[in-house]
Amino acid sequence: MNKLLMHPATKPVVFLLCLLPFARLAYGAFTDGLGANPAEFLIRATGDWTLRFICIVLAVTPLRVMSKWNALARYRRMLGLFAYFYVVLHLLCYSWFDMGFEWGDIAKDIAKRPFILVGFSAFVLLTPLAATSFNRAIKAMGAKRWQMLHKLVYLIAGLGLLHFFWMRAGKNNFAEVFVYAAIIAVLLAWRVWNYFANKRGKVKPASAGAVRTG
């Protein structure tokens, strides 16, 4: 597996796979293939894919440590940036199709509606993470501080979940929310468990090398 992950063609293939949801949405938008309410479809689908990529990127480290596929670490940055790519699309779709780029209305909407505020906060918090994802930023900040900053992703995952939960709350329709919540809970719980296991010295540190390899 490590060999496959290190293969020079693997990363471009994963990159293209990550673009598939976008391609499908773009194709649907141009061919009228997104149902009766294409605006709603795009806003929801880009939100879904943001949450999915957050789950995927949070799964990298647990998977790497448990499977010993250390080359997985090479993919973490790209997956994280795809989460940001989809959240930018999500915000863009909302601003465009729901709000017609009326900035005053958008500002009012964010202030007035808690579930929008929570989603918007998650976007704002994710921005410095995306902005410091290149190697020079890590060097300039120092690995320790960079890592501290990027721990924000846990908070962002929680805010994203809350945003989704609130969106569905009015209709009491939580089945999907619980699936995402369960996935994120397991991924975060593993980190807590791993932290204490490391402290007791039973398991080798999980984060060693993570920064260097991106």
């Binding site: 294409p38 709603e40 009015g170 009491n172």
Partner: protein
């Protein structure tokens, strides 16, 4: 003007439009002769005066009067153009495909594409609607009797969903008031409760914890008696598709869509305000009245604007401003005179 492509309305077209266009003249063979034209009128009058007058007249005039082209998917249910004020919106009618594949019917799933996928299992015959509570003539009414209880009318209503989207739908049915008058409510009946089918065998999501089943709705007596409150059996000139609430549903055009209960099995006349499904699920978000009101926001989103499904411009069409009482203020505003609509949301 192209007569051959409008075979369903040659008489009207010829009578009113001949000479409108100086370039394309109808062939003289296509012009309906005066005798035939007038003879048809006489026949209509004759039928209207007969025993089954209203129904037959509606039937005979169905082609001249029907506003909407039939999708030819289900059995026809023609309705005569309604004379009720406000009942015939002139706005562009939503495509049948959108109206029948994008809607909420939680018994068949929470996604708006689910009802069309899953409602095939619903059995709409035999079907009875039980009228009970504070009425002089309670009883079980078979769907066939209900269909004939009053003349079917076509009504083109705007429909505004609480989620912020809207459609324009040509329903077929008659004023609920016709049924209410027949069953003679007692003096102390102040509200009408609607109970809908909750059959776990044919409705896969009955039993999910999303709502308290069966789905119930309610109206104040004066709301229920308002001529715009429609007991609908069809849409687009045909019987209702299962996913839209077959075989009989309510349509209250000035309230958010969820007030219009689908697949009704019980109509109950009561003294106290009945509890309603969404109000039980989230009382702070969905009130008993739920009148369309751009000035009273849903706690999580604004109700000031709406997205008209199938609007020209598609994805890039601008949302339109939502109107108080969904634009039916002239007809229903007086029902709520002096009421605080913010409190009674």
């Amino acid at each position: 003007m192209s007569f051959p492509s409008h075979p369903s309305r040659p008489i009207r077209r010829t009578a009113s439009n001949s000479g409108d266009n100086g370039f394309i003249h109808p062939l003289s063979s296509e012009i309906t002769s005066r005798e035939v034209y007038e003879g048809r009128r006489d026949m209509l009058k004759l039928m209207a005066g007969g025993a089954a007058g209203a129904a037959l007249a509606a039937f005979a005039s169905r082609e001249a009067l029907a506003q909407t082209e039939r999708p030819n998917k289900l059995a026809p249910l023609p309705g005569a153009k309604s004379a009720v004020p406000g009942a015939m919106s002139m706005e562009k009618v939503t495509d049948y495909k959108d109206a029948s594949t994008y809607n909420n019917f939680y018994e068949f799933g929470t996604d708006k594409a689910d009802p069309a996928k899953n409602a095939g299992t619903l059995k709409t015959r035999p079907w009875t609607v039980e009228v009970e509570g504070l009425v002089k003539k309670p009883g079980k009414y078979g769907i066939e009797d209900l269909l004939k209880l009053s003349a079917q009318e076509e009504r083109i209503y705007r429909l505004r969903c609480v989620e912020g989207w809207s459609m324009v739908i040509p329903w077929v049915g008659y004023s609920l008031a016709e049924l209410i008058k027949k069953v003679e409510p007692q003096g102390n009946a102040r509200f009408v409760e609607f109970v809908t089918l909750a059959d776990p065998k044919t409705m896969p999501f009955v039993g999910s914890r999303v709502l308290d089943w069966p789905y119930t709705e309610g109206l104040r007596m004066d709301e229920a008696m308002h001529p715009l409150t429609l007991l609908a059996f069809g849409m687009y000139g045909e019987v209702l598709p299962n996913q839209n609430g077959a075989p009989v549903r309510l349509v209250v055009p000035w309230k958010y869509g969820f007030k219009s209960a689908k697949s009704i099995v019980k109509i109950r006349f009561v003294e106290k305000e009945p509890s309603t499904a969404w109000n039980k699920a989230a009382a702070n978000e969905y009130g008993f009245y739920s009148n369309v009101n751009p000035n009273v926001d849903h706690p999580r989103w604004s109700q000031a604007t709406e997205r008209r499904i199938g609007d020209g411009g598609g994805l890039f069409a601008k949302r339109r401003k939502t109107e108080l009482f969904n634009g039916y203020e002239a007809q229903v505003g007086q029902l709520y005179a002096g009421m605080d609509l913010k409190k009674n949301y």
